[in-house]
Subunit: 276 residues, 2 copies
């Protein structure tokens, strides 16, 4: 049962927040969405995955995306970034692990393995909900930072489910970064072999690839570029794997939604071309 | 001394937050701004006044205004809605009085009269800062809800200071509404004669008017329209006073920034035509 908990008319359509019981996470889950022209049935959908500390609100409130979808039959949907309402050991202690930091993976560690399955939540349950409730037939996926990591890993592992994949400021090699190592240890344990299934660079190195071009956007004044994002590692792996990739580096831009809002139209247009 | 405390590149310009010591409020005050093309000198400026509970962040984060100013020489500036860092009696107890709720007036009640002078802060101190630091020569003013009240009252009382005035969902007759009566009593005491200087409808009734057209935007699904906003009272007073006014009622739209983001371009274009 999908419950509408908030509706705001916006650009002739509606921005809504939905809530439902999740069989995958065994919690309630929320997502926000923009429904052009206040229609109830659509053909295509872009899924946006948010970054660390975010929930279903950040993108739909700050990115200014609605205006670029208002004349289309394409919804945009923004799920929350983790299960909520639990109180697992350490779940609320760090910004890069636990609540608000699901990392779009299936956890195997005690406590977390029962709820933290954000990859399955997106690719199975959310997709089904969107097909059943809105008639969606085709999906694209994009995201920011941890959500960029989510978009690329899910896109590489599910090439037929998503017709196009893009990311802003993605975490592309979490096995090699401070945020990533902490989170992956917390969710998967210390065997680094287990981390590779959730690392875009390692997935490309392992032979996974897509026929279409990955679109990546990266600010050159991003405070996390050198320590946490490591865009060049993805570029190198993509080149070795002959994975088509387009990386747009943006002089002076940082990691914020002010940056995302500046270039979101390019990404939406990219996905609309693939979807329609 | 104007201190820059935050800068984010955005639409080829920069979104910034500034802080300064205010002689008027005797506190530090903050404002956000968008500076097109990262210039340091401009010709014209739109001042945005926010509503209850807001600070300098809400508009610049949520309205999507930057894209419509990026090719201009016009700044937009968004001051905070009250002094901060004080702890006056009752200052933090209600959403419609005290911190986050300055109502753009000069208080006369004990404690508040020493700090709560948001009208003087805007029309004297902020204007001077903007002239001195950015070379601004012409100003327009607009706002939302309590900030719409601020824009219209300051615009009516300072016809030469602001070349154009507009408002979204303005509080136009606070002497007659629950939020307004509480706030005006708290700031000015219970003599309702003293309230008239801070009530757009009463100012028009008293003979103040502008030669140019007031532009008003009002959602018809606004949950506060009938109880707190009373748009029709302003229309009636404007008609009696021969004040040119254009009210755009918007079917289905509410009081939120999703609504504001939908129509902000029309207001920015209105002010740009007056400013340039």
């Amino acid at each position: 049962m999908l419950e509408t908990i908030k509706t705001n008319k916006c650009f002739d359509g509606s921005t809504k927040t939905f809530e439902h019981e999740s069989k995958v996470t065994k919690t309630k889950m929320k997502f926000s969405a923009f429904l052009p022209k206040e229609e109830t049935s659509f053909e295509t959908c872009i899924i946006w995955l948010s970054g660390l500390t975010c929930n279903e609100d950040n993108f739909i409130t700050k990115a200014g995306a609605q205006q670029f979808l208002k004349d289309t039959k394409t919804m945009i949907v923004c799920p929350d970034t983790s299960p909520r309402g639990l109180d697992l050991p350490g779940e609320h202690d760090a910004f890069n692990f636990g609540s608000g930091a699901g990392f779009y993976l299936t956890a195997t560690t005690e406590g977390y393995k029962d709820h933290y399955k954000m990859d399955q939540y997106i690719t199975d349950e959310l997709i089904s909900i969107l097909k059943d409730n809105f008639g969606i037939k085709k999906f694209s996926i994009m995201g920011h930072s941890m959500g960029g990591h989510g978009a690329i890993t899910l896109g590489l592992k599910n090439p037929d489910l998503f017709v196009s994949v893009s990311a802003f400021s993605p975490v592309v090699n979490p096995s090699a970064t401070p945020w990533g190592k902490e989170a992956l240890t917390g969710y998967l344990g210390s065997n680094t072999e287990d981390w590779k299934a959730y690392d875009s660079t390692e997935l490309l190195n392992s032979g996974l690839k897509r026929a279409d071009t990955l679109l990546i956007d990266q600010g050159l004044n991003d405070e996390f570029l050198e320590s946490e994002l490591l865009t060049k590692n993805l570029e190198t792996a993509a080149e070795k794997a002959s994975q088509p990739i387009k990386v747009n580096y943006r002089e002076g831009y940082d990691h914020s939604y002010f940056y995302i809002s500046t270039f979101i139209k390019e990404h939406i247009d990219f996905h609309l071309r693939a979807l329609t």
